[in-house]
Amino acid sequence: MIKVVSVAADMVTSYGWGTDVCWEGLFSGKTAIRPIERFPTHNLQTGNAATVPGLTMKPDESLVMQMLRPLLDKSSIEIPYDTFIILATTNGDIEFVQRFVLDEENNPEKSLPDCLLDKIMLLTGTFGKGMVVSSACASSSIAVSRAASLIRNKVYDCILVIGCDCVSEFVTAGFSSLMALDPDVAKPFDKNRQGLSLGEAAGYMLLMSEERAAKGNTAVMGEVAGWGLTNDANHITGPSRDGSGLYQAIYTALKSAGIAENKIGSISAHGTGTVYNDSMEMKAIRSVFAENTLPVYSVKGGIGHTLGAAGLLEIIISFKSLDKKITPPTVNLFDIDEEAEGWVFPYPQTFESSYTLSTNSGFGGVNSALILKI
């Protein structure tokens, strides 16, 4: 079987520019969720979100492009001309819809993810082939699985996956209406968690067949070894309470990677900080791994829930964690929920394995599980 490897990746998060900055931010144990200054929040459920310092609403460049342009400009690797691009986002350039509704002077079609994809293609100078994947909060992890499938099936051998979303009044008001936000900051797997904190971020990962990477003498970060995707088919916003959908996704991912569960050394959980998500995840994880506890962590207490970017950022952090054989602490974890006791910790955990699992879930009941190897 063709191996799918990651050869380059980077991100911008509320901690700042670069994967190392995010990694160090998480290890500092301090959250990068901060007061929102971009729009009025007095009628919303919270005034906090994990915003990227320095981004402002500009007429000539969207928030997402303010993240993507510098990120891709300073890419450590040249993106080959024949790279297929997969953009993962939930709302992309949503401020064009906001502007259209407010002043009706803008063309709302500028908010379509296809338009954002065109801008990314121009920025990367690639040959103009690409697609957009949107599957709620699992968008970018599912995009990575689609890239891996395309490479495994020899459709393309070089794919750039980009994940991005911004903090907007549009989305913050929506999550407020669903009472899904923590009024203070997200506290994944904590007894007193009350909801998620929204975040904004952008990231990219260049994936190749192992053969293509070897031909170009390109250094390999790690391998996308397997994946499983499922749907709860249960509720439009809430997860299946028993975690059965995520359990099935993990089981399928293990099968796809051809490994047993005891090979997994750590888990990057979706860990949003909502009561139901975190409980569902622990049920699924406990069902798969039974008494064999292993380190589980969530990055969302640090960088918030970055929606369409979340899965990709977590995969990048997972590769770094595999490289260092240590998991980041779960930031904002003060009083561990009983279901997570012995699994999730507010401090780093070491592990030995070469395999890690990264999970995401989202609206509509989507679940993804990816097995990563180094």
Binding site: V97, D114, V133, G174, S177, N231, T252
Partner: protein, 223 residues
């Protein structure tokens, strides 16, 4: 070999099933939900159908017709028993743009005091697929994709690879707009015994016509 075992379609005046070679007129999308209930195309009422956005409605209409065309039955027992190992993938021209505008206008009109969750949930392009997954009990992969070119052949290619990769045993591929929609059931030939089917290559060729009516006509001519 991956084959197409059901194709359902609907537009503003007609609906049909390609393999059954069945086509009927209707009096508009507003009456179609009760019409589908009466004709047992919806085997039980679609929960919350009244609050669905238009693309969620057309998605559910064409998905029901495609499953019927493929001879696949379903029931609301799936909530307590086995769900179907079938995924759903979709594409369309403008994602959820109309729902985005409706939701945000409503929020602004309310004086930015309270957004409506019932409108917000449709501001994801994957939500119509999720509504269909809930109603039909589809537990496989769910994702919305948009493509630069060859929209339908790309969608069907992803659905095919999903079965080959054993992500699900069957896939529903949906192209739903507000004015018309079409859905395809893809299965592995080895799993369907004597069920009637069309080759994926022929379906892809017929599906790449420039207009919806031409596509339905070309698909109807397939043997």
């Amino acid at each position: 070999m991956i084959v197409v075992t059901g194709i359902g379609w609907v537009n503003h005046k007609e609906y049909g099933c390609i393999i059954e070679k069945d086509k009927k007129s209707h009096e508009g999308f507003n009456s179609l939900h009760s019409c589908f209930k009466n004709e047992s195309i919806f085997l039980y009422p679609v929960k919350n159908f009244g609050r669905f956005d238009m693309i969620s409605r057309t998605t559910c209409f064409c998905a029901a017709l495609a499953l019927k065309d493929a001879g696949i039955s379903y029931s609301n027992d799936h909530k307590h028993a086995h769900k179907r190992d079938m995924g759903i993938m979709g594409t369309n021209e403008e994602g959820c743009l109309e729902s985005n505008i409706n939701y945000y206008k409503d929020y602004i009109d309310s004086g930015r005091i309270l957004a409506r969750g019932n409108l917000f949930v449709y501001t994801l392009p994957s939500t119509p697929l999720a509504e269909a997954a809930i109603h039909f009990g589809l537990s496989g992969p769910l994702l919305h994709m948009s493509f630069k070119e060859n929209k339908l052949s790309s969608l069907l290619g992803f659905a095919k690879r999903s079965i080959i990769e054993k992500e699900a045993t069957a896939m529903l591929a949906v192209n739903a707009e507000e004015s018309d929609a079409i859905s395809f059931v893809l299965e592995n030939k080895d799993d369907i015994s004597n069920k009637r089917s069309l080759t994926l290559e022929n379906v892809i060729f017929a599906a790449e016509k420039s207009s919806f009516d031409e596509m339905i006509s070309a698909l109807s001519d397939l043997k």
